[in-house]
């Protein structure tokens, strides 16, 4: 299958909105039509032809080569198909995704996977703050789907997450899983202070603990949980590291007792 490929000419002079470059919007369009799609975020008009060299292919499979951290909203609202990005992306990558797969071979800016409902996002580099989190004024963050981050995540990963699974193979910043409503957040290595801050329900798994835990979490002892074993089977195809963590005994902390208290933080002994 030959992908529809966008190759960067040079670093853009302004931040660009790439939310139009998604399979369901491009299917059926000619090269000329695609090249006229506007990407600017300022009053200076910029279209696809000015930024990219376009090679036509199957629009269900998009490839963005030489990407830049000025590429915002990559894969936003995507419903099906696949986008592969060779390089970094800016803010809101994969926001409100409803299906398909987004792969970023680089780093991602804040609010990646924000409000995502379904599909898979894989980021090989690090991600900035608020992974899967809501924008200001929104009631919930991520609502479904699977996110895999091979590197590190910034602060408030999984903030107000309602459903779905986030796997961070590296470290996570402070307040991981803050205000979680439900869902599963797995951090392979150490997390920053106060994970699960004000979480109502949901599961946070920390492979190597965290620098400080809120006193509003209560120790429930060490357990081998069948539910985590089941989860391990599910995520094994996404992250072997994450799956192996779940197959071992985990220290269970219930909380956040400052709110509803039906959530849990499970801590492994990986150092």
């Amino acid at each position: 299958m030959k992908p529809l490929t966008f190759t960067l000419h040079q670093r853009p002079e302004q931040r660009l909105d790439l939310s139009s470059l998604v399979p369901h919007f491009l299917v059926g369009k000619t090269a000329a039509q695609i090249e006229r799609i506007e990407l600017q975020t300022t009053r200076v008009r910029v279209d696809v032809a000015e930024i990219f060299r376009l090679r036509m292919g199957d629009a269900e499979y998009l490839r963005i080569e030489g990407a830049s951290d000025r590429f915002d909203r990559v894969g936003e609202g995507m419903t099906a198909g696949e986008i592969v990005v060779e390089g970094d992306v800016g803010i809101r990558a994969g926001r409100m995704m409803r299906g398909g797969r987004l792969t970023v071979h680089g780093t991602a800016g804040p609010w990646a996977a924000s409000g995502m409902k379904a599909g898979v996002i894989e980021i090989f580099g690090t991600v900035a703050d608020c992974l899967g989190g809501p924008l200001a004024g929104e009631m919930a963050g991520m609502r479904g789907g699977t996110v895999v981050v091979r590197g590190r995540a910034g602060e408030r990963a999984g903030d107000r997450m309602r459903r779905g699974t986030i796997i961070i193979e590296g470290e996570a910043g402070s307040y991981a899983g803050s205000r979680m409503i439900a869902g599963t957040l797995i951090v392979g290595r150490k997390a920053g202070p106060l994970p699960g801050f004000l979480m109502k329900r949901g599961t946070i798994v920390l492979g190597a603990g965290c620098s400080a835990i809120s006193p509003t979490f209560v120790d429930c002892g060490q357990h081998e949980l069948l539910g985590m074993r089941l989860l391990a089977g599910f995520i094994d195809g996404y992250s072997k590291r994450g799956a192996s963590l779940l197959r071992r005994p985990l220290q269970r902390l219930a909380g956040d007792m400052a709110v509803r208290g039906n959530g849990e933080i499970l801590i492994g002994n990986r150092n």
Binding site: T146, G164, T184, R201, T203, L225, L230, F234
Partner: protein, 302 residues
Amino acid sequence: MPAVTVKGVRIDDTFAEAFGMRATAVIVTADSARWARQAALTMTGFATSVIGCGCEAGIDRELGPRQTPDGRPGVRVLMFAVSTAELQKQLQARVAQCVLTSPGSACYAALEGEEKLKLGNALRYFGDGWQISKRFGAKHFWRIPVMDGEFVCEATTGLTKKAVGGGNLIMLGRTPKATLAAAEAAAAAIAKVPDAIAPFPGGIVRSGSKVGCKYKGAAASTNDAFCPTLRGAVKTSLDADTGSVLEIVIDGLTSDAVAAAMRAGIAAILKLGPKRGVARISAGNYGGKLGPHHYHLKDLVP
């Protein structure tokens, strides 16, 4: 009635008459095969006939760790009933009382279907507010805290309306011992057929019934035409040398599964032969007027 004889065993020119049923399937797992089997046996223990048990259920097959969702040994259980409502009621009660209570157990869906029956969605209230919902991809599970850890249960399981209940084989032998040997061989062969169960004890029933009874309130009564001790007193269906009759009743998720199970049973009886087993095979029906599924024995001879 005319019959064919294969390997010395007479096969009546008759048919088994079966009925459409509602069915579902679940996988029960545990830390060991022993406890998975124990939970499944308890769940299916009093489930021989819809007449008195509400449903018919049995173990379809045992599963290895690689065949179950949680990587532990398991058992696939099939359950049949005459209505969706009754099936839901029986499923809920039996999983709650027999699987949830069994040490280390978990319960998962084992049938795809457009329509669903509640499984964990019905049992989650046992968690008293501490139950945890988990969605992994398209799957939805409930984690319910219990005294040995947590009971994991899939939210729903599939329902099929294409199931068939009442396939049967009747084995007529000279002695109880030889007839039981044939029935055991047939039941063992049927147990290996996927998507089909024989719900009676060990797969075998010795109290075949007819419709109706001289006493009020009893819908069924002993099948006197097949009782050796009544040979001279009633219009019998037995041969002069018949000393014992046993039956195997078969339920399947599909009509093909029932036919395959009957074929396997007949093959096993024929393999045993008339000297060690039975000299005649028949089947039960109601004249073909009640059940839409007819399994003619002559079509099932291997």
